[in-house]
Amino acid sequence: MNLGLGSLFLIVLQRDLMIAMRRWSDICNPVVFFVLVVALFPLALNPRAEFLRALAPGVLWIAALLAALLSLNQLFRADIEDGTMEQLLTLPYPLGLVILAKTLAHWLVTGLPVVAVAPMLAITYHLPADAISTLLLSLLIGTPTISLLGSIGAALTAGLRQSGVLLALMVGPLMLPVLMLGARATDIALSGDDPTGPLYLLGALLALALSLAPPAAAMAIRISAD
């Protein structure tokens, strides 16, 4: 009966991944959006290599941020609507941990595919290998931070009917540091300098979001489920 916290985390994570596997469109949407946006830029702009190269960090990071924002809306919505959240709230477990497991599951199905295709798209922008590895690393640290910060807004707006724009307005500003640092790190690597500074800062933001976002989102969920 006294379920360990680790197994609680795994049970929730496993179930959310299982649900995601049954709904392929939810997994595909953000990554398709990401690929489309990134692939359209060279078609509309001057396709010269040096121009695209200078554009790449910004375009890739903005597209990754928007793709994440698009999918955040669904993070807790279904659970609130079908009553699962009521059940989770009346169970004797720390809600923050449940939220963390759900957010991780959400990132694994929406964020990780974006990170995975980013290097391939970066090649089409003529990014050198150094810059690609920095881009990959910055996305790998930055996108979970975006998911965690977004979970607070998603929890607050999960009970509302039309929350897409409101959510973006609410959590958008919180994500600006991540966007700036991520794009900056890639840009610095592109110009041949050492990008560890912004990467460390990104890591610090991840640590901060990891420790503060789940309890904040848990409180917000209690309000939304009311």
Binding site: R15, I19, R23, D82, G83, E86, P92, D226
Partner: protein, 220 residues
């Protein structure tokens, strides 16, 4: 259907549910003002009243899902929380929403809650049989009928092993056999010194259990 209550575990006699001075306003409407009630082990509290009189809201206040503006709900003299001092579940809440994921099968849906509430997953087929859900165990929950979903929600209450059942119109969508099954497990729960708070419009046969009726709304 056979009797499906899992292990006829007896709850201790000291568990007492009390609500004192509960007050809640929704906009300009006062849903309840200085409402008090109590339910003893083995007793049922039946909440009755016209539509919109705040029955569901009261049940949610007891479950801790909605915060009352005044007053508190106590269990064994302490503020009611989802966990007692041994870490055991206190509350089994069954609301209007059945908490079934449409894309998972009935069995997968129930297995999740079984694992969370420490119910042996090996006993699930038996539980499904007793609730009459065996034929749809491997069907996605989205194709279940409303009555079958309600049965699955009841199965979840049975798995919880909680001493306090909070049931919001549990008879909704159930057929005659389903209602009979509900009455049987409810009587068994009360006979084991469990407590139940039930929102119901139709009559429920609680057997010999002590039943208190809480009338809400203007008619009170």
């Amino acid at each position: 259907m056979q009797d499906g209550a899992p292990q006829g575990k007896r709850f201790t006699e000291v568990e007492l549910l009390t609500g004192t001075g509960l007050t809640l306003w929704r906009g300009a409407n006062c849903l309840f003002d200085q409402l008090s009630f109590s339910a003893a082990p083995g007793g049922a509290l039946l909440i009755r009243g016209p539509n919109g009189s705040g029955k569901t809201t009261l049940l949610r206040v007891i479950a801790g899902l909605t915060l009352a503006e005044e007053g508190d709900v106590r269990w064994q003299g302490r503020p009611l929380s989802a966990r007692d001092e041994t870490g055991r579940h206190t509350i089994a809440y069954c609301g209007h929403a059945t908490a079934l994921k449409p894309d998972l099968t009935t069995l997968e849906n129930l297995r999740f809650f079984a694992r969370l509430s420490g119910y042996a997953t090996s006993a699930l087929p038996e539980l499904l049989a007793s609730t009459g859900l065996t034929p749809c165990a491997d069907l996605p929950a989205r194709v279940l009928s409303a009555g079958q979903k309600r049965r699955a929600a009841l199965a979840r209450v049975l798995m919880s092993g909680a001493p306090l059942w909070l049931l919001d119109e549990p008879q909704t969508n159930l057929d005659a056999a389903g209602r009979e099954f509900l009455e049987r497990v409810l009587q068994k729960h009360l006979a084991n010194a469990g407590t139940a708070v039930i929102v119901a419009h139709q009559s429920i046969d609680m057997g010999s259990a002590r039943t208190t009726v809480l009338q809400m709304g203007e008619a009170a």
